[in-house]
Amino acid sequence: MRMIELYIQEVTRRLPEKSREDIALELRSTIEDMLPDNYTEKEVKSVLEKMGNPAILASGYLDRPMHLIGPRYFDIYINLLKMILPIAAVISLISFIADTIISYSGEEAVLNIILNAVGFGIWRILSTGVQVFFWLTVVFAIIERTDHRKNQTPLTACFKEWTPEDLNNIPYIPKEKAIPKVEVLLGLLWTAIWASVYFNAASLLGVYEKGSNGLEFVMPTFNQDVLYSYWPLVIMVIGLEIAVASYKLLKGEWTRKIAALNTVMHGVSSIVFIFIISNNQLFNPSFVTYMTDLFSITGDFGSWIFWAAIFTFLLFAAIDIYQGFRKANLKNVK
């Protein structure tokens, strides 16, 4: 009967080649055992219904699991996914922003660039997310299939079974002392933005005027040669900011050490900032004239902007340093 053959074929095509013939033979004899001598199609159907879904029968013969990731690895898988996805997303976003700013030629209006960048940025984050998700899942599906131990006990993050000792490795972080990952990542994003702007100030910062093709870049704010001559100092500040951010991510909570490092970072960047801005060759002379005319400021435009910038910079640095120490000194309520 055709239906019996088809059923057997449906089961055996899911099995390894070498066991197919044997199992097919046994299934056929079993099915015939269940049928009366002169059977009808209806009887065949009812017997096959008893045998059940061929896929389930075949998976019974196979030791292979019918799931992608089983209980043993699921918890690690989810935890890794939660940890890696945001990091990958931020890294791709930062590299994208830096890339956009660096490749900016100054021909297009900034607003258009930003609008395009938002769309592309979202696309980049999504595609990175899909990539991470895909590869992590593939790796875990392979682990699941190559691990032939029968043990199904879920594993902890170190790929070992849980013991009470593991509790000692979990940092206890009160909410007020915690450094949120978002805060650190936004900080890194800000570093990437200002660094990119610094290295492209010639085509980004300056006066824009309405022209025939929308906004047109008229003159830069800074004297490029003077601004660029400080690049080793700027690189040093960037390195420091990244180092402190990484350390914050690693620790996850404010400690005295982190607060001190934070102070050093702000101190160094403030000194560098003041050092650069106090160079009176820094501003493009035609820009200064332009601004003075525009706002009809009496007196020294340079010194006015100089003190305002320094005051703002120091104020923010001081607030952050203070917050760091305040949080570090909070008592751990255990």
Binding site: I23, E26, S29, T30, D33, M51, N53, L57, G60, Y61
Partner: protein
């Protein structure tokens, strides 16, 4: 409600299937005769569970199998190995112990209700 009860019952019975199958394999049986034997005692077993289970028992060396081609259709017969007999006896003891413990617990439950 009845689907929940069904799934709980299936779960409860699943563990006892191996024992039930082993108990009937002291004499050689082929697939369908085993199903009938079990059904006579009121144990219904999914076909899709039984045949793979027999293969697995063979892999674990608890049973051996051989083809009998003397009858009008070839049949595969399964029978306990000496190792299988040994394991079966131990499993049987475990079951008796469990069922005693459980009946004690369930009895306690009944007296509680009567109070």
């Amino acid at each position: 409600m009845s689907t929940l009860l069904n799934s709980l019952t299936t779960e409860l019975r699943r563990g006892t299937l191996t024992l039930a199958v082993l108990s009937q394999l002291r004499t050689p049986q082929y697939g369908y005769s085993l199903v009938q034997l079990l059904e006579q005692c009121g144990i219904s077993i999914e076909q899709s569970t039984l045949y793979p289970l027999l293969r697995r028992l063979e892999k674990q060396e608890l049973v051996t199998s051989s083809w009998d081609t003397t009858e009008n259709r070839p049949r595969r017969y399964y029978v306990l190995t000496p190792y299988g007999i040994e394991i079966f006896q131990q499993l049987k003891k475990e079951w008796e112990k469990t069922s005693q413990e459980l009946s004690l617990l369930l009895k306690g439950d009944e007296t509680d209700e009567n109070d």
